[in-house]
Amino acid sequence: MKLLIVEDEKALADSIYSYLQRENFVCEIAPSYTGALERIAQDDYDCILLDISLQDGDGLELLKTLKSNHKTDGVLIISAHSSLEDKVSGLHLGADDYLPKPFHLSELGARVAAIIRRRHSAGSHFIRLDDIEIDIQAHLATVKGRSLDLTRKEYQLLLYFAYNKGRVVSRNAIAEHLWGDDTGGTDNYDFIYTHIKNLRRKLVEAGAGDYIQSVYGMGYKLTIP
């Protein structure tokens, strides 16, 4: 899988690169509008991470160029301007998703994985994690063919862990993922704890391994042996 990170903030581009590189993705960084234009012309990418506020050009123009050349690259817009207009015009121009800064890398990872899955594995809407199978279309998880009775939040958690397999996901990232902007501060850690406890119990009871581990209470990690 090939990814292009269009981001002029080097520190952020590096972070994204190191996080996604390990995900069996081949990442390239374009630190400017012109650089990105060249790369897009030369190559096709599975997903382009596009910061729309670049020093030397409007990222949305890049998106327009891409679409007018009938490129099928998936596009995830990253923006410091969390304004609704940016989001609407970005999606209207054919971006697949929109993520306002600041974001957690795990959230970015999940969004990128979702875009790639949507674009490339047409027909297959299942994610396999050892003996767990997640049906993205039906919002269902099964263990060895037996469907799990998960609540909406438990399902969201499982999917989030699946997209960030093998990574430590912080409680803060989980809270943001589950509750969005209106996080209730550290209150949420209790709810997360409860939801994860229940999810683990249901997985183990269904005969799956106990894949989700706590990392000193500050985060969680799903590892498939």
């Binding site: 410091a80 974001f103 795990s106 990232a173 209790d190 000193y216």
Partner: protein
């Protein structure tokens, strides 16, 4: 006291004083003239009697008519010639006395000295005087009346630009980009006032916009550094070499960055609402959103073991869907977060108002500042912007958001429109208050 009342009070008092003094002078003068004429007539009689005595050396016949009597009385010494006012019983009706003007003078007939008295009735003079005064009084009343009305109409018209400017200032809203409308006026004072007001509001607006742009830019500029910190933390925790003590420190950093992020987003949101960037409005069914929110907030409700009662009637408002969501989220989230364990949360929705009451510790700050930015209790982890945002949303739609403490409950109430059954007095509505004032 209105300017007009004050002005016409002084004006009319002064007019009355001048007119009363003038009338007294007028009366004295007219009366003097009339008495002078009467005296002239008496002198004519005197001349006739004297010429009669001189030519014939005998007294004329005394006469007694209704309006003139002449009598002679022998006297020891000549009387001093003089005019006098007397009253005597009326000629025919003896029970009524009448004023008379009398001239006394001496004549000598055949060596005998007589006192002659010529008396003329003042009745006609008095009648004339009375009529003149009556007409004068009538004119005074008419004059005052016309003066009053003219002042009233004239002042109202002349002061119109002033009242318009005043009304414009009252309606002035920084967050809206409308300038104050002035009607052109020829009066220098008002023109000056209009110019000063215009310059002042324009300056205020500019300063305000600079401040707002600053908030907006500062918040945006902070997003990228925050994103960098966040991403580096996300990478750092992947390191398996880290020990628990390091992770605990990272956790504190995560929390701090999270708070900054929320704060930043709230500030941005507030600026956007103030800028009216959520103009698009659709019909919104509030009852459905409340149900949805309660489901969304089930986690904290369960943990705090709150008892929720809802008394909800359908209520449809014309609002921006995103803002509606934020408004209810902030109000309900607030009522849950600051609730006590096993507390209650009561939601009452009517077509004209929404009332959210919850149990909880008393406020640790002045309730009057509850909707101010960054007002929060000592233990709150919130940004202190939630209710400020709710208030701003309500203000944008002309809703009235109020806080009260009733029977140990914190009550937040949004009045969407003036209530039919009272409850909130109509004057508490800004629009109505403006209408009230525009009458006079």
């Amino acid at each position: 006291m209105k300017l007009f009342t004050r002005y016409s009070r002084i004006n009319i008092l002064a007019s009355i004083l001048a007119l009363v003094l003038g009338s007294i002078g007028y009366y004295i003068m007219i009366r003097g003239i009339l008495i002078h004429e009467l005296d002239d007539a008496l002198k004519v009689e005197e001349a006739e009697i004297l010429s009669h005595v001189r030519t014939l050396d005998e007294l004329p016949e005394p006469s007694s008519y209704r309006d003139q009597q002449i009598s002679f009385a022998p006297a020891a010494a000549p009387v001093r010639r003089r005019f006098m006012n007397i009253t005597r019983p009326e000629y025919r009706h003896h029970d009524e006395s009448q004023p008379y003007r009398q001239l006394l003078f001496p004549v000598t007939v055949k060596g005998q000295v007589y006192t002659v008295s010529v008396t003329k009735s003042e009745e006609e003079t008095e009648d004339l005087l009375a009529w003149i005064m009556l007409v004068t009084a009538g004119m005074i009343v008419i004059l005052l009346g016309i003066l009053f009305m003219a002042n009233r109409l004239l002042l109202r018209r002349i002061w119109q630009p002033f009242y318009q400017t005043l009304e414009g200032l009252r309606r002035f809203d920084l967050s809206k980009r409308e300038s104050i409308v002035h009607t052109p006026t020829a009066i220098d004072e008002f023109r000056n006032l209009q110019t000063v007001v215009e310059v002042m509001t324009e300056k205020i607006r500019k300063d305000y916009e600079i401040l707002r742009d600053f908030t907006d830019n500062a918040s945006h500029e902070m997003q990228t550094p925050l994103a960098i910190i966040n991403s580096k933390l996300d990478l750092m925790i992947q390191d398996q070499q880290l020990e628990e003590k390091h992770l605990r420190q990272l956790q504190a950093m995560y929390d701090a960055v999270g708070r900054l992020r929320t704060l930043n987003q709230s500030l941005l949101l507030l600026t956007k609402i103030e800028n009216n960037q959520f103009a698009q409005a659709t019909p919104v069914a509030l009852e459905a959103i409340i149900d949805k929110k309660i489901i969304q907030l089930e986690d904290p409700i369960k943990v705090k073991q709150l008892t929720i009662t809802t008394d909800v009637q359908p209520c449809e408002l014309q609002m921006n869907a995103y803002l509606t969501d934020i408004l209810l989220n902030n109000l309900l989230g607030n009522a849950i977060r600051h609730n006590s364990e096993r507390g209650t949360l009561d939601i009452v929705l009517r077509p004209e108002f929404l009332k959210i009451s919850n149990t909880g510790a008393p406020l640790s700050f002045d309730p009057a500042t509850i909707f101010d930015r960054f007002t929060k209790g000592g233990h709150s982890e919130g940004t202190g912007l939630g209710l400020a945002i709710a208030k701003q949303i309500c203000d944008n739609y002309g809703f009235v958001l109020t806080y009260s403490h009733e029977e140990g409950l914190h009550v937040l109430r949004i009045q969407f429109r003036p209530s039919m059954a009272g409850g909130i007095r109509p004057t508490e509505f800004r629009q109505n208050a403006i209408l009230d004032l525009s009458h006079e």
